[in-house]
């Protein structure tokens, strides 16, 4: 696709999304233009809105990168959600186990524990795929349920803080475990996410590993003939993806929620999955899309509060965005085809 065609597709997608959202607001009996403008305002209008948006974008960014990493090898992982939960659990375990650590040690160790947990959760489907050729999509899907239920079991059971009087959650994190933040919710995690995206971009576009992964993604058998190790890369990339989601999980817990609760994620895993596929697993494209989707979620949250639109609006608008983004390029291609190129 040439740059010009890219822009045409982008503009058409945006226009289609705006039209569909307008119809949605009309159906709710709200003035579409006003709603749209407030949405943008609530998402990006001032420092506070922006920080809300960034807070929502952060876990989406981590989950999208977690899907993109194995995605570059042609694997379809839907496991970001579960890996996020496991990262949150192992990270929390460290904090609960060593609450006295100084901040300089606490945060790196907490992140490392989360990364290890997430990596282990990604390693399982990775090994099953590499050694036994078991479909990674199914395994990651199943492991999501295990992780979410495991987190619930912990906070309803052994990890419940008695001080909560029955409320299922751990004790609040000590201040040393809360990542530094500039403006309320603009925290260290976001910086880590952006740096990770940049590093992954370099890794996947430059150097020998990048070529090996491209060859294996394009034709596994050819890679095998010329000595490339599919099993190694499946395992390594699945584990790396898991580690990234795991870091995203503990950051969400430590920076936003302050303690481990049964529901850490508002479907960030699935949203991240869609973002990664929209970006075709390109980290630099994931960055703006994650921001956009974060803005949409934050904006519609605020809209719900101030304009009395239903709570489901955020999900519906998000769905409209993904549907148009996936459908419009195909429709354009088809229209071009029947137009005789």
């Amino acid at each position: 696709m040439s740059a010009r065609e890219g822009w045409i597709t982008f503009a058409a997608t945006l226009a289609a999304f705006l039209m569909l959202s307008a119809i949605f607001f009309l159906l709710l009996g709200k003035p579409p233009l006003e709603m749209g403008l407030s949405l943008v305002e609530f998402a990006f209008g001032d420092a506070y809105s922006l920080s809300e948006t960034l807070a929502k974008a952060s876990p989406i960014l981590f989950c999208a990168l977690a899907v993109a990493v194995p995605g570059r090898l042609g694997l379809i992982s839907v496991g970001a959600e579960g890996q996020l939960y496991i990262g949150a659990i192992t990270g929390t375990a460290l904090v609960l186990g060593f609450p006295e650590l100084p901040p300089l040690a606490m945060i790196p160790l907490m992140l490392a524990a989360a990364a290890l947990g997430g990596a282990a959760w990604g390693l399982v489907p990775g090994l099953l795929r590499a050694r036994l050729d078991i479909n990674e999509t199914i395994v990651t899907l199943i492991l999501n349920y295990c992780a979410v239920l495991f987190a619930s079991a912990l906070v309803f059971g052994p990890w419940r803080d008695p001080a909560n009087q029955g409320w299922p959650a751990t004790a609040p994190f000590p201040p040393a475990a809360v990542p530094p933040a500039v403006d309320g919710k603009v925290h260290l995690g976001l910086l880590i996410g952006v740096l990770l995206a940049l590093a992954l971009h370099v890794f996947f576009t430059r150097g020998r590993a990048a070529v090996h992964i491209r060859i294996l993604a394009g034709n596994r058998k050819v890679g095998r003939t010329f000595g490339l190790d599919f099993a190694f890369w499946v395992t390594a990339l699945m584990a790396t993806g898991g580690a990234i989601a795991g870091i995203g999980g503990i950051i969400e817990v430590a920076a936003i929620q302050g303690r481990l609760q049964p529901s850490i994620s508002l479907g960030y895993g699935l949203t991240g999955f869609l973002v990664s596929w929209l970006a075709r697993h390109r980290p630099l494209v994931i960055l703006p899309i994650a921001l956009l989707v974060g803005g949409l979620l934050a904006g519609s949250d605020a809209l719900q509060l101030f304009a009395k639109v239903p709570a489901a609006s955020a999900t519906i608008l998000e769905g409209l965005l993904f549907a148009t983004a996936l459908a419009v390029p195909g429709l354009i291609a088809r229209w071009r085809r029947s137009d005789g190129n």
Binding site: R208, V211, H212, R214, I215, A217, G218, N219, K221, V222, G223, R224, T225, F226, G227, L228, D229, A231, F232, R337, S338, G340, N341
Partner: protein
């Protein structure tokens, strides 16, 4: 021949561009019922693309297609099938994990939602199979079939559609002479039933056997369209190539008798329904050893073991005394030049460009790729279109085969393993590939050459081994006294003494 009737299909000034490139350019051609039209032309001439326009895979950029005199309503393969047009592609579309029977059922429009194992209706899809390929057991999984057998199942699938127009894209390139003969009979029967058959081919034998009319394409354009017999074979070849055919047939130098370089020692292996039962062969540097055999007798597995794609369960492969067999799942890069069958699946990365595909071995090994002069390889093997930045997946079937040959034969190799290396190539390219293969031998490589084409083997190999049932059943010196019939007898299992 029915010349006076309204044509079933009429192309009017048809053009199809891919970016700058006009794959089909201003073609006007009729396809008539009851007639076999042979569509000839060099690799990349636009034959497959022209037929894909009719089948609705690509829409034309200009011009129109008339079906029964009306503008064709076909927008995709499903439309094509509804309108009675069936196509067997150069690259197959069978589901490898399903049985032959299930593949045929899945493609049959009249298949009910539920069908039992012994259903009478299910049996009907197998009727044609028993005519075209009586030897294929319908319960076998498709991934255990040889390429030629898959080709026949594809054909059966299309014929089951009761298509009025049957398009066959290079159907005989992977068939044994016996299979090809059955295909000819079948094609003639289809035409006699009043169907139109389009036969895309590079083999003049196909044209001889069943064509009524011949259309020749070159560089996207239709350069001739005439009834068979109106022109001589030499004229037809000249039309295809744009020049008279070269007369020199490439053959390797006489074999001087050097020590063994590539040694296969007691190889046993099993995979996907095939077995190797202790295969031993020694190929000397400079020698061209042909392996003849009906496809599906273990050749594919043997090739993959020798090339280190599959691990043998016993025995060894030695190159200059060192083992080059794969052990377990450890990464293993083959040191020998290797042209596998079905290059689109087994030898190229379609998502990468020509240049990367030509340098693939160096890229995978992480070495400097100085040995691969991409521009020179493209020129020498006449790969078209020739831009090194073009995506390999957009090449025509023959040009893809040339790409693999260029990579594997274009730089010096200690040994070469070539499986059907000229499959789908036009006459000019066949010469180039053979020349390159024999140049490797002349430079001291041990060449192992798997083929079904007995005439080619007899004309060119120094020695010929015959494979049947996963074993070498004969190994004979090709000293000029060897005949097709004797080889054929080995292949089909006549007693071995017949050779002595």
């Amino acid at each position: 021949m029915i010349m006076d009737r309204e044509p079933l299909v009429r192309f009017e000034h048809l053009t199809r561009r891919f970016g700058e490139l006009a794959a089909v350019s201003d073609v006007s051609l009729d396809i008539r019922a009851g007639e076999v039209l042979a569509l000839l032309g060099e690799n990349g001439a636009g034959k497959s693309t022209l037929m894909k326009l009719l089948y609705g895979i690509h829409p034309p950029s200009a011009g129109r297609i008339l079906l029964d005199g009306r503008e064709s309503p076909i927008r995709g393969p499903a439309d094509a099938m509804r309108n009675g047009i069936g196509m067997v592609f150069q690259h197959f579309s069978l589901l490898p994990a399903l049985s032959v029977r299930d593949n045929l059922l899945a493609a049959w429009p009249a298949t009910p939602a539920y069908i039992g194992r012994r259903s009478k209706r299910a049996a009907r899809v197998l009727d044609r199979l028993s005519v075209i390929a009586p030897d294929i057991d319908p319960e076998r999984r498709v991934d255990t079939l040889s390429v030629g057998e898959q080709q026949l199942v594809e054909l059966c699938k299309v014929v089951n559609l009761e298509a009025r127009v049957v398009i066959l894209d290079e159907p005989t390139s992977v068939l044994t002479p016996a299979e090809a003969q059955r295909l000819y009979d079948f094609v003639l029967r289809l035409a006699a039933e009043g169907r139109a058959v389009v036969l895309i081919t590079h083999k003049l034998a196909d044209v001889e056997a069943c064509a009524d009319r011949i259309a020749v394409m070159r560089g996207g354009m239709l350069v001739a369209d005439f009834a068979k017999g109106e022109r001589t074979t030499a004229e037809t070849v000249a039309l295809m190539m744009g020049r008279p055919a070269a007369t020199a047939e490439p053959a390797p130098d006489r074999f001087a008798g050097r020590p063994a370089r590539l040694v296969l020692r007691e190889i046993t292996a099993s995979a996907a329904g095939h077995v190797l039962k202790g295969i031993s062969l020694e190929i000397a540097g400079g020698e061209v050893l042909g392996i003849a055999g009906v496809a599906g007798n273990g050749q594919t597995l043997l090739a993959e073991v020798v090339a280190g794609v599959e691990a043998p369960s016993g025995g060894d492969v030695l190159l200059d005394g060192e083992s080059i067999a794969r052990r377990g799942d450890e990464p293993h890069a083959t040191p020998i030049g290797y042209i596998p069958e079905q290059p689109r699946d087994n030898a190229v990365v379609e998502t990468m460009d020509l240049s990367a595909n030509l340098r693939l071995r160096a890229l995978a090994a992480g070495e400097a790729d100085g040995a691969y002069d991409v521009a020179a390889l493209i020129r020498r093997f006449n790969i078209a279109p020739s831009e090194p930045t073009r995506r390999a997946g957009t090449l025509s079937g023959g040009n893809l085969q040339k790409l693999v040959a260029a990579r594997e034969l274009g730089v010096p190799r200690p040994a070469v393993l070539a499986c059907y290396p000229t499959m789908g190539l036009d006459l000019g390219a066949v010469g180039t590939v053979y020349e390159a293969m024999f140049a490797q031998a002349a430079a001291g490589a041990a060449v192992l050459w798997i083929s079904e084409d007995l005439d080619d083997l007899l004309a060119r190999a120094h020695r010929i081994a015959v494979m049947r049932g996963g074993a070498i059943v004969a190994l004979v010196e090709n000293d000029g006294t060897l005949t097709r019939d004797r080889l054929g007898a080995f292949m089909t299992g006549a007693p071995a003494e017949a050779a002595a």
